[in-house]
């Protein structure tokens, strides 16, 4: 029951980043993911929804600051700080995405060559690029940290990308019945999800296996996740509910069986989203510092 702020030498958990940052990681990634996929399937309203989710996440991030009113200072050090860079990425997505959506909604799909057309094209491509960066940069915020070995891994940008896309698509699936505009090819989305889920699983396991050979604090993080107090949430939630169960279900029921009832698809999407959020939560909560001696 040692208080974590007791003056003892030993592995110490990080306690600075809590649910605000965790939820931002989730919503920010999901929003950007949704925006990205919306460009791919050419669905403006979905894109707009993605931007909203991203903005919501960003608001939470601001609330987490000790001095929110000074947030603009965070743009000042892109040369070294990934957080600074992140600010620009988010800004780009919002601006370009906003512009592009506006053009689509009011410019009425202007043909190429027209001003609106070019603007839209540029905004599209820049927005897409920025969205990808938003999905990965949080991985770069954690990855370089020598302080917290469990985060100190090149996998994070990729894992975060995969998980962001996964979440984005799941939100899309869930909102599909309500979304105006072109109907969605749920079958295609489900397939995509299966590939993504497999990818996440592989990345996750390889991350763990690498970490288990790493510094004291990293091993402690792994212990907490696989045997310690976080094990139920991680194994049951992130791996089981979030990845395995949906995959297994699909494997048995098979695609066709799925489409039949949307409810089932929705449930699987919800499971994945749940696992996705838990994943962000546990990554942050399992962060540990090495003992100084």
């Amino acid at each position: 029951m040692n208080r974590i702020d007791e003056f003892l030498i030993g592995v110490k958990p990080q306690r600075e980043w809590g649910w605000l940052v965790i939820t931002y990681l989730f919503l920010g990634g999901a929003g950007a993911g949704l925006f990205l996929i919306s460009l791919y399937i050419d669905h403006t309203v979905a894109g707009a929804l993605g931007l909203l989710v991203l903005l919501l996440g960003t608001v939470l991030l601001l609330l987490d600051l000790g001095r929110p009113e000074r947030f603009w200072r965070a743009f000042f050090h892109p040369q070294s700080s990934w957080i600074s860079r992140g600010c620009f990425f988010i800004a780009l997505v919002v601006v370009c995405g906003g512009l592009e959506t506006a053009v689509r909604l009011f410019g009425l799909g202007a043909p190429l060559g027209t001003v609106a057309g070019t603007v839209s094209l540029v905004a599209r491509s820049v927005g897409a690029a920025a969205a990808i960066l938003v999905m990965v940069y949080t991985g770069f915020v954690l990855a370089p940290s020598p302080a917290i070995p469990f985060w100190n891994s090149a996998f994070f940008p990729i894992i975060f990308f995969a998980y962001s896309l996964l979440a984005g698509i799941d939100i899309l699936i869930l909102s599909s019945p309500l979304l105006p505009g072109p109907t969605l090819d749920l079958a295609f989305l489900e397939r995509a999800q299966n590939y993504l889920a497999v990818a996440c699983l592989i990345l996750l396991l390889s991350h763990l296996s690498i970490m288990s050979g790493s510094a004291v604090a990293a091993r402690e993080s792994i212990r907490l996740l696989t045997r310690g107090k976080w094990a139920p949430l991680f194994l049951g939630g992130v791996v089981g509910a979030g990845l395995i169960i949906p995959l297994v279900f699909v494997a048995f029921a098979g695609q066709s069986g799925l489409q039949a009832v949307f409810a089932v698809t929705a449930v699987l999407a919800l499971l994945r989203l749940f696992g996705d959020y838990l994943f962000r939560f546990l990554v942050i909560r399992a962060g540990m510092y090495d003992p100084l001696l």
């Binding site: 003892l8 001095r67 947030f71 200072r73 070294s80 700080s81 600010c87 940290s145 020598p146 001696l293």
Partner: protein, 200 residues
């Protein structure tokens, strides 16, 4: 160019925490915030057991991770190697805390008065902190710039803390570092601390 650093002799340190309190008195650091600390652990089993004391402070790293992640430039490194936080620029994002392997930084949430609901004349006169920012040891630059030792070094009853210029080969600290096989904490983190330890 100078590179300020500190050497602490762990053989001689008795874990008295005079450094801890000298720092508090010097900086009027708020309740619950300690720039200088003495960490402890036990080694061995009874009767061959022993308590070990480890006085810590900001290492004023040559490659300060805290500065690199800082999005605002609030954290910066002086020519002489001292790593400082500008409390007027800090937005309290705490990424520097996540980036520092040494737990040298603390987020100050604002309730820092030591007597509940009462701010002492001392605190009014001396506390110049704004809340919602991150704080840490500043190597007592205000003293050092006047040629004084940092408060924790000045008070140490066993004289086991040494402060000086690591770039000056003739300085006491340079000698201790070279002669006494000085080590820094967690060297493989690659931050190149300017605080060294001798003995054990």
């Amino acid at each position: 160019m100078a590179r300020y650093g500190m050497v602490i002799d762990l053989n001689i340190c008795i874990g008295c925490n005079a450094c801890t309190m000298a720092c508090k008195a010097e900086h009027a650091s708020p309740s619950g915030v300690f720039f200088a600390k003495v960490l402890e652990k036990e080694v061995g089993k009874f009767p061959a057991a022993r308590r070990v004391f480890l006085p810590v402070l900001c290492n004023h790293c040559e490659k300060p991770a805290c500065r690199d992640v800082c999005p605002t430039g609030a954290t910066s490194k002086r020519e002489d190697g001292v790593v400082l936080i500008d409390y007027d620029l800090c937005i309290g994002c705490r990424s520097c805390i996540e980036a520092c392997p040494y737990g040298s930084r603390t987020f100050y949430d604002g309730n820092g008065a030591y007597f509940e609901g009462h701010t002492t004349l001392f605190e009014t006169a001396k506390q110049t902190l704004s809340e919602g920012v991150v704080m840490k040891c500043n190597f007592c630059v205000h003293r050092v710039d006047q040629g004084l030792d940092p408060a924790c070094v000045q008070t140490c009853p066993t004289e086991c803390r040494f402060f000086g210029d690591l770039d000056d080969p003739k300085s006491r600290v340079s000698h201790l570092v070279s002669d006494k096989k000085a080590r820094s904490l967690l060297p493989d983190k690659g931050l190149e601390p300017s605080v060294f330890y001798i003995g054990s």
